[in-house]
Amino acid sequence: MRPRLATVWLDGCSGCHMSLLDMDERLLDVATRYELVYSPLIDAKEFPDNVDVTLVEGAVSTEADLAKIRKIRGRTRTLVSLGDCAVTGNIPALRNLLPPGEALAVYDHPPRSEVPALRHVQPVHQVVPVELHLPGCPPSADAIHEVLIALLEGRAPDVRGARFGN
């Protein structure tokens, strides 16, 4: 049976998922070697049980993010923080510098009801244990491919050269 792969998108720009798609023809190979069971790229509504690898893009910014990542952690064997938002908080965490509520000033029409945002945006590993970190804004398609293949082959990925930023 093929290992079950999931990808999730918390507070990020989807750039990491774009980089994932940037694997080009290697996607066909990855798609035959993994079973993609949950992702913004497919139509599954509920995060399934018994997932082997989950790639998480984005920081944990809201109560909903927090609930999602806890559920995902409980159902995933190898959790991978994909990209700077998941690994460091990155851009979403810039609002941590501001007093509560002040970040809303960037909106012309701020929401009138309470925003269910956490006081501090957190990297994924500050909230749940993470097995692997892949920094980058976004990580290169090569690095993402290497992580996916290394996990299949049961070895440590060689992602030297992966760095914060771009």
């Binding site: 690994v87 990155n90 965490a93 941590n96 970190h133 920094p135 992602v159 930023g165 771009n166």
Partner: protein, 235 residues
Amino acid sequence: MSVCTLFVDGREVSAGAGETLLEVLRENGIDVPTLCNLEGLSAVGACRMCLVAVKGQGRLMPACTTRVWDHMEVTTHDERLDRYRRGVLELLFAERNHVCSVCVASGHCELQSLAAQLGMDHVRFDYLHPPLAVDASHPRFAIDHNRCILCTRCVRVCDEIEGAHTWDVAGRGVKAWVVTDLAEPWGESSTCTSCGKCVQVCPTGSLFVKGHAVGEMEKRTAFLPYLARRRKGTP
């Protein structure tokens, strides 16, 4: 000049008495990471990246400020030293707001590239997220305190090479920061000559030339050893 014999990672190396350990390591092509050190400036041992183990010493020693002695036995790389170096980088990243993805120096930053080189792929500590200022009052340059690692290269180059001593460090501990004159806006400094040396030696995106977007600020430090020699009166 008398000569010392050292053993570095089991290898025999000779050095002139009075040389620093870092100088000797560099002369012999032995790589030790550094951040605050820069050829042409005095060594201050601020960043702790070049810590090495010296046999018989009860503590780790910064290679940049340690003078060699005869029969010194040095370890430059082992699991513990690499772990400590990664730990130092993690603390630097946690202490201020180093957001590489939107930094002018991304791709040309010594902090960013050292993290990649040493495999520091996440920070275990809570980020402090201090609300720090950007001083853009100077017509050509700006300082973003969010990116400063307090290496004091700017302070040293301004004092030792330019001779202006516009920069200095104010405050203590986690509240320390670099200031121009008596913590006045850079643009109002009466001592700054606007030479830009501080900008060029800054290892991160903290000091930059205005008008650069993300990843565009490349630093040039090649002038420094030459100027340092000229200041000492040697060609």
